[in-house]
Amino acid sequence: MNLPVIIKFVIDLLAVLLLALGIKGLSKVKSARDANRLAAFAMSLSVVGLLSYYLGTSGIAIQAWIWIIIGSIIGSLFGAILAKKVPMTSMPETVALFNGCGGMSSLLVALGVAIFPISGGQENFDFFKSLINEVSISVSIFVGAITFTGSIVAMAKLQGWLSTPGWTQSKARHFVNIVFAVASLIAFVDLINGNTGSIWLLVFVSSLLGIGVTLPIGGADMPVVISLLNSYSGIAAAAAGFVVDSQLLIVAGAMVGAAGLILTQVMCKGMNRSLVSVLFGGSLSSQSTASSGSGEYTNITSCSVEECALTLEAANKVIIVPGYGLAVAQAQHTLREVTKKLEQNGIEVVYAIHPVAGRMPGHMNVLLAEADVPYEQLKEMDVVNPDFPATDVVLVLGANDVVNPQAKNDSSSPLYGMPVLDVQEARTVFVIKRGMSAGYSGIKNDLFDLPNTSMVFGDAKKVLNDLIGELKDLGVGEK
């Protein structure tokens, strides 16, 4: 072994170690930020290791440097700008976009090697080696393409650019996807048999498969899908590692792939969904065909912002239940102003965070932290649930399914068994909502019918602004 090889070996080993520590640290609140930086450092280290290895052995041509610099600058610049500019509310689609591009990168590497075999790859030609090459190229293209198109579809759906077409909820979609999958397999076998032209067929049908699988999935399940696609992009990276013979790539890819799978599982558990039903079940509403789901509301009480303010003023303890609607209305800052006023009046305010509140697990914590809500006031579901009976007022802001008592009481409901917040136990519940439309699940919410629930109709941000005005008139928080 000569020096460059040894140096690269040591650097790679160090990089793997730091990446592992990074992922581990990211799963704890205290160490998360440093862990993220550690992982970023490990990534830069791996680049230094690779470049120094080539400098020490074959050398890097000027022309290669030029293309490296062009690619790096453009990619990094766009990545950094997007990461700085994007509002916190659209975090899920941003992660999906980044993820898709990672998949695209693996796809392009495999494609490049397939079309123009690089030196060292095909020269020492023996059957086993070339078979491995072909298999790893195919896997890299297959997974990379699915990751790319799947992530783009997920992003478009979260952005609202794409809705769920009706036909994708019928059984026909399984047939269509099976056709795509079989076609991919045919292209794959054809490719191994030496027919290089079928690589384009593979690219094409695996891209379609990525779209076909992601399109039918409802918005509520999108986070799980993004997490799964994230796991895929790790697998694609590992496959690309086989293509270019890099252990570091294989280890890091496998780590992300496996860790992503675990995270997907954890998320599914939090939403009381199984991975299989997320992937093949279509969106929730189509499952709950008119059974318990589509009952009529019989006992809706609606009230004005003024009444809401009066009740709030008289309260001792208020629990806020923020949800998706709050995130969409970007009303987290306005909400913070309201709660500040209440706190100044000596009212105890707590935020009840359902594990899947917002648009992604943990997303609501990020949004409220952005609005300067003290971390101690954010209570997780299991902690806050026993507190509801001793609570005067609950404000439900744009949350729906996560406060549906059906999940506890009605065993025929599709929501049955999902962990929910027991808001109905509180003395008074105000639900701030735009209209009577159903939540993600498309299921009627029994909470709205209860006598202690009042609906305040309107956009979350506007209602909260009005509420600030009313509270001001009542002299709340004027000190």
Partner: protein
């Protein structure tokens, strides 16, 4: 590196990944996903290899460069966005007055 030892690497890497995260507080699901996502941009190394080994083959250089761009978009954007999210958790309540 022989194929078999690469398979070992794959196996051990996967096992390591499975063990790394056990219990994750829901608060960290999004940042963890985003951070892991940035790491999956490690394919940038494959793109770099492609460019270095292209030996003046222009189409291959271009494919490598585009691939590198996509990967770095993922890596740089992913780490920055994760840091932005995590910065909010570490900010002290009394900090901003």
């Amino acid at each position: 590196m022989s194929f078999i030892s690469l398979l070992w690497v794959l196996l051990l890497g996967s096992l390591l990944g499975l063990e790394l995260i056990g219990k994750v507080p829901p608060t960290l699901h999004t940042p963890l996903m985003s951070g892991a996502n940035a790491i999956s941009g490690i394919t940038m190394l494959a793109a770099l290899t492609l460019i270095v080994k292209a030996e003046g083959n222009l189409p291959l250089l271009m494919i490598g460069s585009v691939s590198l761009g996509f990967a770095l978009f993922n890596v740089v954007g992913g780490f920055f966005v994760t840091d932005r999210m995590l910065a909010m958790f570490s900010r002290k309540p009394s900090n901003k007055k």
